[in-house]
Symmetry: C2
Subunit: 434 residues, 2 copies
C-alpha cells in the first residue's frame, strides 16, 4: 500500500468540506511576476523587434542580430519532418488526420431567414484573420499541443497561423517543428515568454499582430495572456490538469492505477481522483498504485501529485458518483463502467468524457480526435474544449423591408422613449410610414 | 454646420494614423477602483450576506434587516408588468417574442458519430446550471437589456436565471421588473455594484452562486467581473458603444444624422462614424447634424460625443469603405446603400450588420431579434454577439471499442513516448492486444 493517498467516503459527515479542501487551488497572481510581465509588454509594445531581441537574449540566451534570424522557414519545418523517426512521423500524421476529421464537424455555417414582411435576419460566420499559437519550449515541448491548437484554427479557415516557440540556448525540438509542418502552421518564430505574447498581441516590425492567442505556457505566459486580453482574444487560462475516474469495480485495477498516473505525471499539482461504490476495489487500486509506482520513470512527480492532490472516494452507487463528478466538473472524466451510455444523462459538467474500460484518457490526449485543450479547475461548469468555434466569430444580420421597418419601428419607438433615448426613437420613427 | 466633427479622407497621407488616434480608447484600470473592488469581493466572499447588507446600506442608502428584504417576489414582478402603460407592455412582449424566435435558431444540438471500428466520437451540449444577470439601476436602467441577456439564457435551457439590480434610495424601475417577468427571470435581488457581482460569483447564505455573470455595469461592476473571471464565466467587458455607417450618398441625410445621434446619445465616449464616397453627401449630413442637434433632448451628450469621437470619412468607393470598416471592426455597421447584399462578402468583422436604408440601428437595439450585446472597441475581430452559445457548453465524447483502442493505442504510445510521458504510454498500451 502507498502510505499517502487520501481516502474519502460520501458517508462521512465532513465529506463536503473534505472534498472542498481537496479541490482548493490557489491561482492568486504573483505581484513580482505581474510587474515583470507589465514591463515586458510595455517595452515590446513601444520598441517592437528591438525589445523582443533583448528579452530573447536575456531569457533564452540567444544572441542574434535581427528578428529575421528568429524566424524558421517552411523548408526548416519540412527538414524536421523528414528527420524525425518514421514511426513518429506516421503517428503524428494519423493523429492529425483524426483531429482534423473530428474538428471539421464543429464548423459552423452562416444562416438566415426571412419573416412574413420580407425582413431578413441571420448570422454570418467568419474565421479570424490571424491566430497566434504559443508552444512551450524545453522539457515540456509537446508536439501534440501543436496539432490540437493549430488544426482547429486551420479548419476554421484562419488565413495565417503564427506559432511562437522558445528555443532556450538554441535547442530546437524537431518533433514540435514536424507537428507544425503537418498542422499547416504558416509562420514560426523562436521566441517565448511574455515577450512572445506581446509581439503577437501588438505586432512588431517583423511579427504580425494576431487576433487571438492560444496555447499553454508558464506563469509569465499565462499572466501576459491575461494582460493582453481585450487587445486580442485568448483561450482559457489553464490550471493544473485533472482526471476523475468513475469505476464500477470491474476494470483491471492496474489499468485504473495507470490512468491515474497518466494525469499525475504531468506535474505535482495535477489531480487524480477515483470514485467507486466498491470499497474493496479502491483497496485493490491502492495496492496497484503501490506496486506500479516504483516502475514509473516519473515516479517522484506521480508520488507527490497523488499524495498532495489525489483521492480515492467511496460512494453509495453510480448515481452518487455522477453527483460527485458534477460537483467537481472535471477536465477529464473516465466512465470505466459496464454501461457508460446509461450514466451519460446524469453527467452535466466535464471537459471530455471517456466512455468504457477501453477508453484510456491518454488516447484522448493524442489521437482520438477531440481536442486535448480542456477546461480545468471546475470551469467545465461554464466553458468548453478548444474548438473550431474559438477561431470563428459571428455577426448578426438584420435587413428590414420598408413594411417591416414601419411595423417594428413603432415598437422600437415606444421602448426607446420608455428608456429616455429619444434619438433612438426618432431614428426608428423616420422609417415609419406617415 | 456644426463646428466640430472630424473630417477625414482616405486620400490624405496621414489617414492611417489619424484613424488610429480617432479609435484610440484608454481602458486602463484605475488603481483606486481596483483596490476598492478587491476589498468588497473579499468581504462578501468571507462574510456573505452581512457584507452585502453593509455595502448596500453604504452605497445605495438602503437600510434593511435581512437579505430577504432585498429579494423581489414573482408577485412583485407581475405587479410591475400590470402597472406599466399598455403600449409599453405590448412593445416589451413583441420585442421578447422576436428575440426569443431569433435566439432559438442559435440552439446547438449534441452530435456523435461512429467510425469503422465501432469507436464513438461526439460532442454533448448542456446548458449552464445557473446564470447571473447584472442590470444597472438608476438613470441607465434599460429593460431592453433585461430581455437581451435573460432570453438567450432561458432559450439555452439555463434552469435558474438570477438577476441583480441596484435600487439606490429604494427607487425601483417598473419597466425593468416587467421585462424580467416577461423574460422569465427566476429570482431578483435589489443589490448592485461589486458586492452584487461578488454575491453571484461566490454565493452567500441567500444569493445562490452562479456559473456565469452577464450584463453591463459601471467601472466597479466591470472591474469586479474581470476579477471573478475563472471562478465564474463572464461575458465581454464592454467599451463605449460605436456605430459605423457606410452610405452611398442616396439616403436622406437627416436619417443618417439621426442614426449617428442614436449612438452618440449613449454617452460622451460613444463613437459615431460615417463613411461615404460622396463628399457632397458628407456636407449634407454635416448640415443635418447642425440643424437637428438643437432639437435633441440629449443635445449636450451628443455634441460632446460627435466632437470628441465622431468622424465623417470620405473614401474612393464602397470597396474602400468596406476596408475601412474591417480596419475598425465596428460594434454596429449600417450598410445604408442600394445593394447591401453585394457588400456583405467584403465585410469581415462587425458585431451586427444593418442592411439597407430602412434598417435603423435602433431597431436592432430593441426588437429586430438579434442580440444588442455586441463586441466593442474592435473586438469583433475575434468575438461574437451575446447568444445562446454563451449559456451552453460542450463536453467531448470519446468511446473506444476494443479494436479501436488497440489500433489507436499504438499511435498514442509512440507519441507519448516521444514526449517522455510514459504513464500516458503505458495506460494506452494496457488496452493494446498482445
Amino acid at each position: 500500500m502507498t502510505d499517502s493517498i487520501t481516502r474519502l467516503s460520501t458517508s462521512q459527515s465532513d465529506f463536503d468540506s473534505a472534498l472542498a479542501s481537496l479541490l482548493a487551488w490557489d491561482d492568486s497572481v504573483d505581484h513580482q511576476v505581474n510587474e515583470s510581465v507589465r514591463h515586458i509588454l510595455h517595452e515590446v509594445k513601444t520598441r517592437g523587434d528591438a525589445a523582443v531581441l533583448e528579452f530573447t537574449g536575456k531569457f533564452d540566451r540567444l544572441s542574434v542580430a535581427s528578428m529575421a534570424e528568429l524566424e524558421l522557414s517552411e523548408v526548416r519545418l519540412q527538414e524536421a519532418l523528414a528527420r524525425i523517426p518514421e514511426d513518429q512521423r506516421v503517428a503524428l500524421e494519423q493523429a492529425a488526420a483524426r483531429v482534423r476529421d473530428y474538428h471539421e464537424r464543429q464548423n459552423q455555417a452562416s444562416w438566415r431567414y426571412e419573416d412574413e414582411d420580407g425582413t431578413v435576419l441571420g448570422q454570418k460566420v467568419t474565421p479570424l484573420d490571424r491566430a497566434g499559437l504559443y508552444v512551450p519550449g524545453g522539457k515540456a515541448a509537446y508536439p501534440s499541443s501543436v496539432l490540437m491548437n493549430a488544426i482547429p484554427a486551420k479548419v476554421a479557415g484562419v488565413a495565417e497561423v503564427v506559432m511562437v516557440v522558445p528555443t532556450p540556448d538554441g535547442v530546437v525540438n524537431d518533433m514540435v517543428l514536424a507537428a507544425a509542418a503537418i498542422a499547416g502552421v504558416d509562420r514560426v518564430f523562436t521566441i517565448g515568454g511574455a515577450q512572445a505574447v506581446a509581439a503577437l498581441a501588438y505586432g512588431t516590425e517583423t511579427v504580425p499582430a494576431v487576433d487571438k492567442i492560444v496555447g499553454p505556457g508558464n506563469i509569465y505566459v499565462a499572466t501576459a495572456k491575461r494582460e493582453v486580453f481585450g487587445v486580442v482574444g485568448i483561450d482559457m487560462i489553464a490550471g493544473p490538469s485533472e482526471i476523475l475516474v468513475i469505476c464500477d469495480g470491474n476494470t483491471n485495477p492496474d489499468w485504473i492505477a495507470m490512468d491515474l498516473f497518466s494525469q499525475a505525471e504531468h506535474d505535482e499539482q495535477a489531480q487524480s481522483i477515483l470514485v467507486s461504490p466498491d470499497g474493496a476495489f479502491l483497496d485493490a487500486v491502492e495496492a496497484s498504485i503501490a506496486k506500479l509506482l516504483p516502475t514509473m520513470e516519473r515516479e517522484e512527480i506521480i508520488r507527490a501529485s497523488l499524495a498532495g492532490r489525489g483521492a480515492l472516494i467511496q460512494v453509495a452507487d453510480l448515481k452518487e458518483a455522477a453527483q460527485v463528478s458534477n460537483r467537481i466538473a472535471p477536465e477529464h472524466l473516465e466512465l470505466s463502467v459496464e454501461d457508460p451510455e446509461a450514466m451519460l444523462g446524469d453527467i452535466r459538467h466535464a471537459g471530455a468524457i471517456f466512455m468504457g474500460r477501453y477508453t484510456a484518457e491518454a488516447l484522448g490526449d493524442y489521437c482520438a480526435g477531440p481536442n486535448h485543450v480542456l477546461p480545468t479547475s471546475g470551469t467545465a461548469r461554464f466553458s468548453s474544449p478548444l474548438g473550431v468555434y474559438d477561431f470563428q466569430k459571428r455577426s448578426s444580420l438584420i435587413g428590414f423591408s420598408a413594411s417591416g421597418a414601419d411595423r417594428m419601428g413603432r415598437v422600437a419607438s415606444v421602448l426607446a422613449r420608455g428608456e429616455g433615448l429619444t434619438a433612438h426613437a426618432r431614428s426608428a420613427e423616420y422609417r415609419i410610414n406617415e
